[in-house]
Amino acid sequence: MAPTPDGPPALRLDGVTRVFRAGGRVIRAVDGVDARVERGSITGLVGPDGAGKTTLMRLVTGLLRADSGRIEVLGLDIGRDVAAIQGRIGYMPQRFGLYEDLTVRENLDLYADLQDVPKSERAARYGDLLHMTGLGPFTGRFAGRLSGGMKQKLGLACTLIRAPDLLFLDEPTVGVDPVSRRELWAIIDRLTGASGMTVLISTSYLDEAERCGTVLLMHEGKLVGADSPAAFTAPLAGRSYRIAAAGLGKRRLHERLDGAPGIIDATIQGAYVRVVTDSAGLPPLPTLLPDLDGVAADPVPPRFEDAFVARLRQERPALPAPPAAPSPDGAARDGEIIVVRDVTRLFGSFTAVDRIGFSVGRGEIFGLLGANGAGKSTTFRMLCGLLPPSGGTLTVAGYDLRHAAAAARGRIGYMAQKFSLYVDLSVMDNLRFFSSAYRLTGARRRQRIAWALEEFDLETVADAACRDLSLGYKQRLALAAALMHEPDILFLDEPTSGVDPLARRDFWRRINRLAETGVTVLVTTHFMEEAEYCDRLVIMAQGRILATGTPEDLRDRFRSAQMPDPTMEDAFIALLETAPAGTA
């Protein structure tokens, strides 16, 4: 199965278009895409939410038919030879396509049968795959009981059961923790290196794009770029800097730099603010930050994400930042508003959370981080009063929310993982409902709804059914609903998973402002770069807290000769690796 450089490309698309019609609207999900994927390469399919990545994946696997254009897979025309193609490719859909009520072994057996793997070869093949994925000890476990990362690896093992010539992975790393992501990439590298397999992987994690040989960048159904990551970032050379200012908090600094003239992107990274400029060279610091002393700016190498943001910013300017409201009650900022002491939660004999404790101060952005199955969601649900703890105490603003009077719950805002909205209802109906649910009435209710529509730029979609909104809009609406009643404390569960980097930046800009006004924010996330926005965070594994501290503290702990400037992700992985017991 060595790569044949003279043969046809693994995948070729010529003018491929696919249109969907929904409720009288025509959506050009894939619009005139021409692309090639060379044999033996790792090609990334990158784009914001709704760019058409999944539709493209389904087109090239024969699950959808193109309205026009031509698709050749491994030299075969998909219109004619779809059966032959499907025998030679592997495909892992977004939810991994596993049968959750079958065990790991039974899932493997099923796919081995379906892919015509001879019985005699199976033992060796299973051995390889189980070793590679680390699933060996879990063959008898039901797939539904595996953690997200393990499911992802099992899904991969099932598609690799008969080594395919071409492997399609649709967003395999969504909802999967950094350790599992890293392990997945190690497997992919091994596969392409050793057996010459071709891989097309779609992802919304832009750091992953840098690991691909070629990147196909999609936006609104169109292919807007196809090149190596280095070629994408080349125009960005000399436009990325990190800036620190003595005596000014990173959040304040970020606020100053964000949207400043000449700056197209500003993100918090550790103690620094990382900026990307609109042309080579940083504007002179005195003009950029006129009244500040002790400002230091160093150039840093560009990342793929910079290129991505730069490209998309041309089409979608940043939303106007909301005016910063002065802190309502500066004196009250110090009290501890969330206190967790010795909290344990059992599910049957399984200890999901094991005697954890931490506290959150008023006005803090506090992060709850951990691998899949580490217990952070359980902790989160206990804090919100959705689950009773088996032992220990938790108080939020002095109450245990599980037994708190309704009034106490009126002080918190909650945004669930999947942006839980009523999808059949319109945006306006959702806002009306949540405003009433939070006991707003009369003029105040009208005023808050008007505020939400304007603040979150929802006026144009006020009458659209939520079902038809893109993920970015849904996220904004969910946040608007959670903020309807101006809560003191905001709970955010995986608030940005699946949304594109621009929406993520807008989101964090708002959260920062909220924190500045004294709102306490508790957030769980998989995105390590988002951990940078936190004032303090805890990292959990196997129901215990491994570390508590500021992001800088954590990175400092793992600063070494090999890793002079560790990212949050490096620190996270190092922490898990040095944890007492092995993690799943």
Partner: protein, 373 residues
């Protein structure tokens, strides 16, 4: 071994494992039939016996006593004797009795003088069916009394025609004997259509079908793998129901096993095919379940001839019953249990089932593609 057979084997193993591990499927397949059969076998009967009636006699004498005697002898009635007609009327309004038999004060005088007295009967007609049955029983009792009346006087019977009735297949006219076989058909409709509709929709919803499709498996293999396990489950439920009917409820079985097996198989195929069509139309469990409930249980209950006589329905409704597969199977089962292998009944109904099975499976096959659109 043939690659296609191995693929099929893999899929079948998966389906069986899923059935074994899903309590709700097993509940529908075994618990529901068992509960229903018990309720029907022990509880439900359309026959009337011990019907509470009030006998009001305004002036008691030997003649009225003979009427009272005839009524008391009937196994169908439980006679009470309220003091007067007002008390009886109150009891009727309060549902304590189902009817009143009223012999007025001139009853004996008129009967003996040849001026034809009247036996007043007032029934609660709300439940028209029960009222009809009571009417019939009263007429029988009356005819018996008339014959005895004539014999006692050495006169010919005032009712000169002697009705000899013979009820074929079910001489005791026991409703259990025909309800239990009919019920089996209703239950099998549920097992077949509801389960297949839900399991296929579940695969759509969970995205597992998407992964399956991009393998070497063919759509025919997927469909066969969905059919076989539920076919086996259905035949198992069928066998259990038949055994229960015969051993527990002593319903006679006069047909032959092979005919029963073949016709059951045809019926199950039609039901399963319908389930597959529903799920390929709906693709989500909520809608598939609602369609399945609306199109299976109540139609099988009401339009199959299981309880309500199809011949007595208006013509337009009779046409509708022809698309209810249970209709044919109810007819086959009632015949197999109570009558035997009667070709003239079994054959046309079996052909109708075969046609329905072919249509549903054909539509399922045509509408299922190895694609998402």
């Amino acid at each position: 071994m043939n690659a296609s057979l191995i693929r099929l084997g893999g899929l079948l193993r998966k389906e069986f494992l899923q059935i074994l591990r899903d309590p709700s499927a097993l509940a529908i397949a075994f618990l529901l039939p068992a509960v229903l059969l018990f309720i029907f076998g022990y509880g439900v009967t359309l026959d009337a016996h011990d019907v509470p009636l009030a006998l009001v006699i305004d002036h008691a004498d030997a003649t009225t006593a003979s009427v009272a005697g005839a009524l008391a002898h009937s196994p169908y009635f439980r006679i009470s004797r309220p003091p007067d007609i007002e008390a009886a009327e109150t009891a009727l309004t309060d549902h304590r009795i189902d009817g009143i038999i009223w012999l007025r004060s001139d009853f004996a005088r008129r009967a003996l003088s040849g001026r034809t007295a009247s036996i007043g009967v007032i029934l609660n007609g709300t439940d028209a069916n029960s009222a009809r049955l009571v009417e019939g029983y009263l007429q029988q009792t009356w005819a018996t009394w008339l014959a005895a009346w004539g014999a006692r006087r050495g006169q010919p019977s005032p009712v000169p025609v002697l009705v000899q009735s013979r009820v074929r297949f079910n001489p005791a006219v026991s409703s259990r004997d025909n309800l239990v076989p009919g019920l089996i058909a209703v239950i099998m409709t549920l097992t077949g259509a509801l389960l297949t509709a839900l399991v296929m929709a579940r695969e759509w919803e969970r995205g597992t079908l998407e992964a399956l499709m991009v393998t070497r498996v063919t759509i025919r293999e997927i469909l066969i793998a969905k059919l076989v396990p539920y076919f086996v489950l259905g035949m198992g439920g069928m066998a259990a129901s038949v055994v229960m009917a015969v051993t527990l409820f002593h319903v006679p079985f006069r047909g032959t096993i092979p005919v029963l097996v073949v016709t059951s198989a045809l019926f199950l195929l039609a039901s399963l095919g319908m389930g597959l069509v529903i799920s390929s139309l709906a693709r989500n469990q909520f809608v598939a379940g609602q369609i399945a409930i609306i199109t299976t249980f109540l139609p099988a209950f009401i339009l199959s001839g299981f309880i309500f006589d199809i011949d007595s329905m208006p013509a337009a409704i009779r046409v509708v019953t022809h698309v209810v597969a249970a209709r044919y199977f109810v007819s086959i089962l009632q015949t197999e249990f109570l009558a035997g292998d009667i070709r003239a009944v079994i054959l046309p109904n079996a052909v109708a089932l075969a046609v329905m099975a072919a249509i549903f499976l054909g539509v399922a096959r045509l509408s299922a593609r190895k694609r998402l659109d």
